[in-house]
Amino acid sequence: MSSISKFQLSCKFLLPILVVIPMAISCAPGGGSTNSTSASELSGTEPAKGKIEVVAFKGGYGIDFYQQAAKDFQAKNSGVSVTVTGDPHVWEQLRPRMVAGDPPDLMYPGWGLDHWKLADEGQIYTLDKALDSPAYDGQGTWGSTFEPSILKLGQKDGKQYVLPYFFNLQGMWFDPGVFAKHGWKIPATFDGLLTLCNQIKAAGIAPLTFQGKYPYYLIENMIIPWIQDIGGIEAVNDLQNLTPGAWKSPAVLQAVTMIDTLNKQGDFLKGSVGLTHTEAQTAFLQGRAAMIPCGTWLHSEMSATMPPGAQMQYFLPPMVTGGKGDPSAIAISIEPWMIPTKAKNPGGGIAFFKYLTSLDEAKKFVIQKATLMSIKGSDQVQLPPTLVEPARLFHASKTIYSYIARQWYPAQETEIENALTSMLNQELTPRQFCDRAEAAADKTRNDATITKHHLS
């Protein structure tokens, strides 16, 4: 159509004009100055009043709990109205609101919004002062009601930006019924694991599977714990602090080689590298694989499709003999709740969250949603069976940590995950993986536009 070619020509002239003129008059994002901490902090002592808007990620635990809590809160506080909305892709809706400066009063955006960037750009309050204010039930400060090791994960440069609510332990799972039937035992060492894998293979079952489409499952639940095992928590901290050479350390190389060994020996279910989390987890529950790495959300995620008779039990990746690390160390992850600086009723947001994090509410959440909470004493209840072992190990642990660098440096993390996928496809050797990971860390180190974090 000749009309099309004419369009092409006219566009050559028009487009530049169309771009330049509006630039002078439009409402393009304003070049504001960066303000990393807001001038006034929240006191946390404001009584709840008016309208409070809460937006939360609607994931495995839904938002019905928060909505019920909102109703209860309203009943206890006259003149207050609390609305809770949410969506599985809630960050898509929150993003434009953040840009437009119209955020909710309390938000839990899920994993799709970079809250550390928000902190950098002064879009969320620091909450230290609020944590010093009295807790909901008046006993001590609000901050003291949280488990300190978990609370720390919401801090940047010593300032508290996000608060944890429920938290997850990373680890591995097996089916005690299946193991009992075959007389297998969870090994205490990696060598024991290799032997066990051979036994399992002899029975015609794949020893392990993993959520290949999302390599961070392998990284957070097996590789990082093994790095801690071999090189101590310092080895993991080096990675997170972008210490030069950290990714080429002997601990990292050995941990990655362990995965490579399992892979080359055929201990992974065939096709794992392309499986989604539900596919891999289903394979595990159907008995096609004996063990799987996953966080403590596994049960709640899979309960509707668990074949009758399937069970799951948590265990930590088997130790490496002669490792420097703490055998009781556990990796955890939190889901962040925050108060935006442009919220209309931040005091209300804090008041409601104080209620949500009160001991009674936290206990209810543990029972209803079968997950552990960051509130001290919240697991002093009749725990659902799958939580018993994680809770026990958590309390017995001397080192609680989290691979939080994954959130700090997303571009680097993508590159590392890609390298792992290639290694699992046997396109890279473990050493080459380390080289690529180190190169990615280098890039991050040298990029001045990326904010660096430091683990204290």
Partner: protein, 249 residues
């Protein structure tokens, strides 16, 4: 897919290709009621119909002018409509959000309808212009000679002739809008305004965490059936139009 929608959850993943045992029709009522798909269904219908009512006349009028009354700059205008097909929507997501909030049409059905019309105009004008260009001139001429002005010629003579083309464009647009997800997600966040694709995504994501495959597939079936129905109803017209070389450029 249809078979899966009536199976209980775990059977789907263990024996995906077998027939259901027992038949689990409750999946449908679950999807419709518990997951709000019934509501989303009505919203989608309202929005699609609303959009078409504005889109088709506006598009036809513009296409008619562009096809038969060329003037200086008409090529540029045509090209601008064409260019709209060339970019991904999430590029304009943020400016669009600003715009809708500023004119107070954010999170409203009428707002989404207007946005949908805007974005569907590219394809509609593209196709209908080509269509109008192939209609015989003699009829228009005859109408003019009979004393019709341009308006009357269009509405009384040319538009009825264009019915098949408009029907085809209408059906394709309807299907596209029915399945549209991205814009609705950003511009219609409240649950009561949700369209069907959003409802299904909601269900699918909750399913990912709760693995309720049965309800998910039921939801997918609910989404696809109207589309298939519309297509089946109009299939003869569609085929006839396409066969008649109506799209010759």
């Amino acid at each position: 897919m249809f078979i899966s929608s009536i199976k209980p959850g775990y059977e789907i993943v263990s024996s995906p290709w077998s027939l259901p045992n027992p038949v689990h029709l409750i999946n449908y009522s679950k999807a419709w009621n518990e997951n709000g798909l019934g509501h989303a269904f009505t919203n989608s219908i309202l929005i699609c119909v609303g959009a078409l009512i504005i889109l088709l006349p506006a598009g036809a009028m513009a296409a008619y002018v562009l096809a038969r009354y060329p003037f200086k700059g008409s090529q540029i205008i045509f090209g601008t409509f064409l260019g709209g097909m060339m970019f991904p929507f999430f590029l304009v997501m943020v400016p669009l959000f600003f715009l809708m909030t500023q004119i107070h049409l954010f999170d409203t059905k009428i707002g989404l309808i207007l946005v949908y019309v805007g974005f569907s105009l590219s394809f509609t004008v593209f196709v209908l212009t080509g269509f109008f260009q192939t209609l015989p001139n003699e009829l228009a001429e005859a109408a003019m000679l009979d004393g019709c002005n341009d308006h009357a010629t269009f509405w009384k003579v040319m538009l009825p002739l264009a019915k098949p083309g408009i029907l085809v464009v209408g059906v394709f647009n309807a299907i596209g809008l029915w399945n549209e997800y991205g814009l609705a997600l950003v511009l219609m966040p409240s649950p009561q305004n949700r369209t069907l694709p959003l409802g299904i995504a909601n269900l699918a994501s909750t399913q990912q965490y709760g693995s309720d495959w049965g309800a998910l597939f039921a939801g997918l079936v609910i989404a696809v059936v109207p589309v298939l129905a519309v297509y089946w109803l109009f299939r003869n017209e569609i085929h006839r139009t396409m066969m008649a070389g109506a799209l010759k450029g």
